[in-house]
Symmetry: C3
């Protein structure tokens, strides 16, 4: 697939990843020195059927920094309830006449793919359903690892949280599997472990991994801790102490000096606030990278489409 | 009326229609070749008391393609519930200080007219109440007929659907009545036929029309089929088969080779999806025309206002 | 405090007020002659946890007139309900990476202050909680008094309404206290009078004031009537005639010829509509001033931040 649309994180090949990461570095430099980019006539539509101010702002700020304009919805579901059935497809056919690129967050798994099938402009999936994907999050996660660790070769990565429903954890695992010497530790309560389809994929790719319900044995040897949120509603009525997964000063002491902590944010209690000032806490740098990665991706798709 | 505000489709005279359609052709050419327009300092406000992403995006994309900026509301009713009474008038007085043109969709019939009475900048009605008007939709409908058929003289037009509450059908009938050799067929279940006020207007203008509850006798001789949606909620508990109004491959076979099918969209089941690829299916071209027609109308009003 | 963030009206010193008012005059001139300003690369985020189309549009129009772009939320609370606790701080840390200035309206008192404590870009408080502040409203109120009366020295000001919960009344009282020869009359039903903290502040500053439940004795001698809204819900089940506070033709007759009437708008019944055409009715000029004052304030903070 030539990356006309960005729907799944699996789509990114290593050469495309490297091209996007180089472009991301350039975007960062241009923004930092207050430079301008030449996408003045371009229009992006952000079609968010489920609200997410942070993700939407990240895409829209990227488009503004590129010089373009934005058609925006905060909660598009309000208008889509009118008609059942083929609504989404007709909406995309119409809206793709009004803009040059569409960013869609759909409440149903597969929504972005359905949009891509009828759109006349590039579609970027900004999250589809709770079990779906969020490929630009995975892209900025991987870029941050690359930017902080200066390599993607031979890294040990601990992915922690409610991994069975973790959209970002799943998307990142797909991307990490592109780098054959990666070692992944999936850390979760047994009933929330990563699903078998991901493990099958890693097996197929020959990626080494381990499953565990505690961080005890691995926290001192990983290069990257990818912490995610555990929805407290899922713990109701269960005897489970999730604080064993939290990252605090005690955990920090055990971690390698040049390791990093990532989190897709927003966080709840799973990272103590006094961790923020540690230089290994990379999650706010990670969210800032979202801007540059999205600038790179949007400009890449627009350039490709105007050739 | 000199078209300071666009509230009713009746306002458009034939010379103004022709001026707007010429301007629309120019706008299409400029957009297609990636040209720029000179409305950089202009601000449009889209004040939507009832959400409609497609219509709003069409106006906002038009403003961006002209070079301007947009103050946008997705659901303005949220804030207007605070005070009853003269709220709308005061809101318009205030907001017209902040922008150069206002596009309003109001949930009450007459809302746009009330806005125009106090506004210091041009008002465009983007739909007011279910029984009101939507003049820019009628404008793009008529432009599409003109653009596809290359004439507005002597056309036979079938308007199909729940016409008693059809805002777009009513507005289009008003515009078609400007062209004296037009013949209109209103096709609807008897209890949903077009209302008498429209027929009185056509009588006054000397426009020929017929009412029917089936398309059988006319589908093979019309130049334009204007299909609209029938709200299924209105059929509850009734013994009525609406599929007789649907357009499918069987209906296509009977239609003239150079006829066209229009629909204001979104559609439900009333046009089969396999019709989309027929060259007579003009409804997606029609929605694209919405961009150019609105660019023409907005620029026309801004030019007029800055003289 | 050097005005990195604008949270309370007390922050404005007289020299800063004068600098902002001069800048406001310039902004008005530039807008009136269709001139341009040089903030093309700047991005403002309007983070409205409570909707207010007028206030939001005023800020966004100001940013567009300056040449910049806007990340906008109509109702940000929708997305913030996900997690309790430190949500706001993390959101601001993230969003301040995506823009150059943040305008926040938070539903809780103290929200803007919390945002300022973690933001990497200037924060402007656009209202925090019902008992909080709205400093830019106070700024435009004071500017309007200055612009209309041509002085801020020795003015008599009547502030009328449900003053105990009047955010704008409280903020204006703080600003007026910067001018020592001011005389303030607080006119309200006894149980809705201005709170003691404001009176203590005025005592400390040596500002002269009087409390009253009628306008009878003072309406003929004040220079400024600052009328505010009385929420009718608060009167339920009470024997109270609020019409004594309304401004109508009878009240106008008693007022000084060169006095002015202000209102933060939207109004309910407390100013009769036939007052609008009287030249002393300054409330629509006041709302227009909101645009220029906000242009001045935003550009002031952006200039300061880029030094």
């Amino acid at each position: 697939m030539l990356l006309d649309h960005v729907i799944f994180s699996q789509q990114f090949t290593v050469p495309i990843l490297m091209e996007l990461f180089n472009r991301t570095d350039q975007m960062r430099k241009i923004v930092k020195r207050g430079g301008t980019l030449d996408y003045q006539k371009k229009i992006m539509a952000t079609l968010f059927y489920a609200p997410s101010t942070r993700t939407r702002f990240s895409f829209e700020a990227a488009m503004f920094r590129l010089g373009g304009n934005v058609l925006s919805t905060e909660q598009a579901k309000m208008f889509s309830s009118e008609i059942k059935g083929e609504m989404l497809e007709d909406t995309i056919r119409i809206i793709s006449n009004y803009c040059d690129i569409i960013v869609i967050r759909h409440h149903e798994e597969g929504g972005a793919k359905r949009a891509a099938e009828v759109s006349s402009v590039p579609i970027i999936n900004a999250g589809d359903g709770s079990g779906g994907q969020h490929p630009t999050q995975a892209l900025l996660d991987l870029y941050t690892i690359y930017n902080e660790c200066k390599t993607l070769d031979g890294l040990s990565v601990a992915i922690i949280g409610a991994l069975d429903k973790g959209r970002t954890a799943r998307s990142l695992a797909y991307l990490l599997s592109k780098f054959e010497r990666t070692k992944i530790y999936f850390i979760a309560p047994e009933e929330m472990q990563i699903k078998q389809d991901i493990l099958d994929h890693l097996d197929e790719k020959g990626i080494s991994y381990e499953l565990s319900s505690t961080t005890d044995k691995i926290i001192n040897k990983v290069d990257v801790v990818y912490q995610t949120r555990i929805d407290k509603d899922r713990l109701k009525g269960k005897e489970m102490d999730l604080s064993v997964y939290n990252i605090d000063q005690e955990v920090l002491k055990k971690m390698k000096k040049n390791s990093i902590i990532l989190h897709p944010l927003p966080r709840s209690v799973e990272i103590s606030h006094d961790v923020d000032t540690d230089k290994r806490a990379a999650y706010f740098r990670q969210s800032e990278n979202g801007l540059y990665v999205r600038m790179a991706l949007i400009s890449f798709l627009l350039d490709k489409n105007s050739q």
